[in-house]
Amino acid sequence: MTPATLERRAAFRAGQRAILQSLPGTASWGLICGVAMVKGGLATPWAIAMSLLVYGASAQLAALPLIVAGAPLWVIIATGFITNLRFVIYSAAIRPYFAAESAGKRAAAGFFMTDFTFTLFMRRAQDGSLPTQHRDAWFAGVCATNWITWQTCSIVGIVASGYVPTHWGLEFTGTLALVALVGPALIARPAVVGAVVAAAVALLAHSLPYRLGLFAAAIAGIVAATLADSLKPMPPHEAEPAQ
């Protein structure tokens, strides 16, 4: 094995270790999502196919009642698309870091990007602890581990939906895992301003269809955080993505 291969394997394993902490949250949320699809009225093989192909809990759960009710195809697909609009923001945010990669690798980075893997990536990018070499292998380690955990638990939930207790409030672990991701970022004032504005807009706009409120809230929060950032004296600049 060449030294480069060994380095790439080490980077992959480092990525696996980096995502390890958030796996319990991913696991229980995946389990609940699997149960919810079957309880929502989808037959087992279709639920498994959906989990494997879509790999997006919020879109799956948003589309589910429409599918079961026999809503028109374009309504279902539009619902999935709008629910996923936040991924457009994520995609724009990580793009500079993958600019040098092949189209195939960029497509893979997109397919495997979730709230968890994206947040981990951006946090590492901002505190400067993203590997400088073999970043693609590192992110592959993050994504592969997250994907396997999610799919295993989601499929267990689908197959064993009758045996998973739904009255324990296990789905709340998904929310708590997101709290654990967002918490450490709330040290800087612009981030706090952004989070508060985003939360307020999300609550106010919650009744909008297709989870459009989430997208509106994300945009409002980012604008507010940027304004808060520009109101304070410029700090010595943090590392910005290599162009």
């Binding site: 196919a49 279902i76 999935g80 936040r86 793009r95 654990a180 967002v182 940027t226």
Partner: protein, 112 residues
């Protein structure tokens, strides 16, 4: 289900959802290299994770099928406070989940 959806229709729906999800996730990643975002927007996007997560969390905690619930007796609010307290002294996510679920469950059983 009163009217079972046909297998073909289901397959089309699932593939359609998969394509639309893939399209959003890869949108900017696969956009041509000449197509570039304004630098200020790229810098602003570093706030994307914190804002999106806050926008997902707030309604999940403070809104339910019954409507808004801002009362301090909301078990999910107590659960999040438990998780936040844990985060004040450790970044460990497993501990955060355990602490949050313990607070949530205790509140649910005590107030429920």
């Amino acid at each position: 289900m009163n009217e079972p959806v046909s297998g073909v229709a289901l397959a089309v729906v699932i593939v359609g959802l998969a394509v639309s999800t893939f399209a959003t996730r890869t949108s900017f990643l696969l956009a041509g290299r000449r197509f570039r975002l304004n630098h200020r927007i790229e810098v602003a996007l570093r706030y994307a994770p914190v804002c999106t997560l806050a926008a997902i969390i707030a309604p999940a905690v403070l809104h339910s099928a019954a409507g808004y619930d801002f009362s301090p007796a909301n078990p999910r609010l107590i659960g999040v406070l438990g998780a936040a307290l844990w985060l004040c002294w450790s970044r460990n996510i497993v501990g955060c989940l355990a602490c949050g679920m313990a607070a949530y469950t205790a509140a649910r059983l005590a107030l429920g």
